[in-house]
């Protein structure tokens, strides 16, 4: 299983290098406030990585916020109890 994963990873790295080499020409982006020119392959990779990271972050934030809400709810439920001297 691990070997298959490593082979798939190597395939994608090789594909990335090939696509990057084939699309080395610069492409310009107009963000209204700035204009940027980057290689086509690099732009593609940056967008993919950014999207992946943002997705992961959103999922993690959603879960941790839900856990905190549950803890706060439990604290509210626990009422008065006698003090253990």
């Amino acid at each position: 299983m691990r070997l298959i994963a490593i082979l798939v990873l190597l395939f994608f790295v090789a594909a990335g290098v090939v696509v990057g080499a084939l699309n080395a020409d610069l492409v310009g982006y107009d963000f209204a406030f700035a204009r940027v020119s980057v290689p086509k392959g690099a732009a593609l990779l940056a967008v993919l990585v950014l999207g992946w990271l943002l997705g992961g972050l959103t999922a993690w934030l959603g879960m941790s916020l839900r856990q905190r809400r549950l803890q706060r709810q439990r604290r509210k439920e626990s009422g008065k109890t006698p003090a253990a001297a």
Partner: protein, 390 residues
């Protein structure tokens, strides 16, 4: 120039993939944790069942470190520490549990009950009493807390409070606690008798009879009170009623009863009563009492003849000892030496024997106790019936 939003669909696909991967990773991690937790839990349980408490504690300690929110693990650990006699550790653990802010009310009361038991085991009865009283006031685990409170008051010999709480327990659970309450009244009566407050003692005995009309101890105390007041005929009636209430206590009741017969000069009645008792009771005590009675009235020969006949029907070491003592004077020479050896041997055999045993926990005792020193049950210690005992 290529507009930047041309890359947006690709970014959306990457976002979705990243979100899915993160969720999957979290789910797998929590699943692994649960699996590890439950396998550890069952391993601990297995050690407990195999009476390997040290290993169980090790596993549960690791579990508690892994997940600090697991209340049940902490409770199990606390129980184990207490059972092993490490009361200070149990107290610390339960105190820590009680001080947790996010604990639900039912769990907190369970932890408080456990803490109270720790305090009891450590001998901190005042703290335990305060905790159990709080639990009763909150009506949380009230029956258990009341039982512990009654145990504390019994230990402190505060019989009035013990009665009050036993009555509350009776109302709460619907279970009959009257025999136990009767014993508490008997304790109060005994204390009053010792202080010379006879009227007060009689009042307490009336209360005991109201709780349990056939309370043997109350009848015996009544007999003793009457006997001390010189009312020997009434004492005889009370002692006979005590035997009627529970025939098992014959060895305890016979000595004062015979004294009362002698003081009220009712030896014919004594003989009739003992003869009748022989038919219902299969121990040796009435036989020995009758032997002594015949010895005084009809002489040694008649007494020995009666004892020998009885010993054939109910063999007993105590009876044999009595027979040896009675016939020793008539034997001389080498036979006497052999008889002396036999007598010493019999005496040693009797010295090591427990005469009473608790019918609930099996505790053996040489003297009679109304409350078992081991399991604290009332009226469960009874004479042992056997060749070497009663």
């Amino acid at each position: 120039m290529m507009p930047w939003y041309a890359l947006l669909p690709l970014a959306a696909i990457a976002f979705a993939l990243g979100w899915w991967a993160s969720r999957r990773r979290n789910a797998r991690r929590s699943g692994a944790a649960v699996n590890e937790l439950s396998s550890d839990y069952f391993r601990g349980l297995n050690y407990l069942l195999n009476e390997e408490q040290d290993k169980a504690i090790e596993v549960f300690l690791r579990l508690a470190e892994y997940n600090r929110d697991t209340v049940e693990t902490h409770l199990a650990l606390g129980n184990l520490f207490r059972r092993r006699g490490e009361v200070d550790r149990a107290i610390r653990l339960h105190q820590h549990l009680v001080s947790r802010p996010n604990l639900s009310e039912p769990t907190k009361t369970v932890a408080l009950l456990e803490l109270g038991e720790d305090y009891m085991r450590a001998g901190l009865l005042d703290r335990a009493e305060a905790l159990f009283s709080d639990l009763v006031a909150m009506n949380a685990h009230a029956p258990s807390a009341l039982r512990h409170l009654i145990a504390i008051y019994q230990h402190e010999r505060d019989w009035n409070k013990a009665i009050e709480h036993a009555r509350r327990l009776e109302v709460m659970t619907g279970e009959e606690e009257a025999p136990m309450i009767a014993q508490f009244y008997c304790e109060l009566a005994e204390r009053s008798r010792q202080h010379g407050a006879r009227i007060e003692a009689r009042d307490y005995l009336d209360q005991a009879f109201r709780c349990q009309p056939d309370c043997v101890r109350a009848w015996m105390l009544t007999g003793r009170l009457r006997s001390e007041e010189g009312q020997h005929a009434e004492a005889v009636q009370a002692y006979e009623a005590a035997i009627g209430a529970d025939i098992a206590f014959v060895p305890e009741i016979l000595p004062p009863l015979l004294n009362s017969y002698a003081s009220s000069q009712q030896m014919d009645r004594a003989e009739r009563f003992l003869r009748e008792l022989l038919e219902h009771y299969h121990g040796i005590s009435p036989v020995l009492a009758l032997t002594r009675l015949y010895q005084q009235r009809d002489g040694q020969r008649a007494a020995v003849a009666f004892l020998t006949a009885q010993l054939r029907q109910r063999p007993s070491v105590r009876g044999l000892m009595e027979l040896l003592e009675a016939t020793m004077d008539r034997i001389e020479g080498e036979a006497r030496e052999n008889f002396l050896i036999l007598r010493d041997l019999t005496r040693k055999l009797l010295e090591g024997q427990a005469m009473y045993r608790c019918s609930r926990c099996g505790f053996g005792a040489k003297a009679h106790h109304w409350q078992c020193p081991s399991c604290k049950s009332w009226s469960t210690i009874r004479p042992i019936h056997g060749v070497a005992n009663e």
